[in-house]
Amino acid sequence: MSKKTYFHAIKLIPEKCTGCTKCVRVCPTEALRLRNKVVELDASRCIDCGKCVAACSFGAIETYADDLQVIGKFAYKLAIISTSFAGQFGDGISYETAKRGLLHMGFDAVASEAMVTEMMGLMIREYVSNHPHIKPILSSNCPSIVRLIQVRFPSLLPNLLHIEAPMSVLATYFRNKICSEQKLDSSEVGIFLIVPCVSQVTAVHQPEGTYVHLEDGAISIGDVYQYVMANIKEIQADTTPMEVYPKGLSWAISGVEAEEVNDGSIRTMDVSGVHNVIDILHNIENNQLGVYDYIVLNSCANGCVGGVLNVENPFVAISRIRHLMRNATHKDFHDQLFIDLYRQDRFNVIPLEPRPIMALDDNIKNALTKMKQINEILEKLPGLDCCACGCPSCSALAEDIVAGKAELDDCIVRMRRLKETNRGE
């Protein structure tokens, strides 16, 4: 099996882990185990969805994002903010002010994902009409979902939209634009994403399917929020004009992207929450959803407003974004360079490789033998999926036993029941 090393934007802090197994139970790819009383991560399985971070009550799973200092080494620094950023700030602070905060942090310019969401809609519609034989096309903007498909649903890789996510599309566009306008070498231009989640940090550090590595770092929305709040007086006094694209903010909210892509001729659906997405991917694998043309999949419930690096409650953020959108006048983003890059296929991604973690062995015969052993062990286990052994389910324990990573005696329920029957006899 592949020995590739994987970057992950989460870090386990063993000293803080109490062994409660909450994270083990929520992990959608069974990547976590409790061994020797502390939690362990299988890096090849982790999809950076951040469910474990949200589940841990003890701060034992920390998130990683780049430190602001990393921007220092570039002559020109651009920040590209995720759509969910707009929902983080309270009523007294306008979206323009929040955005202006990034200039105070040291960036030379600030762009937002919202700028291209409408263009993305056009590109997606064109992609869908050029690929009528693939039904449904699956959105590729949530890196967690792309990785979920690689590890658990590789047969659906051809269904992924083979266009970069909006922030990466913008990174390509701005790198070209800045280099030519400012007469700078590409190495002097630093492009940083302001992200709502750990999966986007991972996507920046270990991109999948990109032709050229375009982004230089990922900074957490939470860190920017703290900076803005700490320097709010100064930022509010600043009157530098800021371009905003409030209509494009809809992508932060699950349900809205699909509505926008749907121009009446294509059938779309929006699914959010990683466990819901898994159910839907199963249905797609069985061809149950072949009537749909395009399905938007987000790992976080309610969309990117639910990402773990945000500060605001997702529902509050949604209401603020909707408020912004409602009161905004529409602004077009129309740019020849952008269109040229699109027509030159510069926003495309390389077809992704599967990351098969499910197979019990590289060799089918051996895998079958192991499966037989697993089934035999399962007969002896109570089937409670209680997680007391440190595995997410009885079948995961059985798999670990066969893989030589655990023992039958790790199941304390079985031990106890055996003791009771022995006593009874």
Binding site: S155, N283, E285, N286, P356, A359, K365, A367, M371, K372
Partner: protein
């Protein structure tokens, strides 16, 4: 009683050899399917799919098994009075045998025609009955055998090779 045989071109020898030598499966899986139990329909094909992922079957082949098995499961749920799904997993192929106790099929050839369906209004309301299930099973299968008696049982056997 009527019978329907289909073998994908080029697969005849392998399919015949399998049927003649009758090897022992390494893993077997059994599921019972309730009449009109649309809530649980998909469970058997889901489990079979998971098993094939665990043994490392190629993803394109897996997709074909998923589609064929799911359609067969839905047909028992939608058209029959309940039945059984029995999967035999071998190192080089999977054999899925679906049996039910009725009402049977009169003209199998006709049921293989895309779009042909006798689905009741109730089944259509559940979102099924496009008449593409059996044609899709055939499209995704290397060898297919159906035997049915009007007013009696139906047996459907699907064989898919891993490569």
């Amino acid at each position: 009683m009527s019978r329907y045989w289909y073998t994908r071109e080029g697969m005849e020898n392998r399919a015949n050899r399998f049927r003649q030598t009758k090897p022992q499966p390494v893993i077997t899986m059994d599921y019972s399917i309730g009449q009109h139990d649309f809530v649980n329909a998909g469970k058997a094909s889901g489990d079979i799919k998971l098993a094939l992922k665990k043994i490392g079957v190629d993803s394109a082949v897996l997709r074909r098994v998923a589609i064929a098995c799911y359609e067969a499961e839905i047909n028992v749920t939608a058209h029959a009075e309940g039945g059984l799904i029995h999967a035999n997993i071998f190192p080089d192929l999977i054999q899925i045998i679906v049996t039910d106790t009725g009402p049977g099929i009169d003209d199998i050839e006709q049921c293989m025609v895309p779009g042909y369906s006798t689905a009741t209004d109730y089944v259509r309301e559940m979102g099924f009955g496009a008449g593409l299930g059996l044609p899709n099973i055939k499209k995704n299968t290397d060898a297919l055998f159906i035997e049915s008696t009007k007013g009696g049982h139906t047996v459907l056997e699907i064989i898919i090779f891993y490569e």
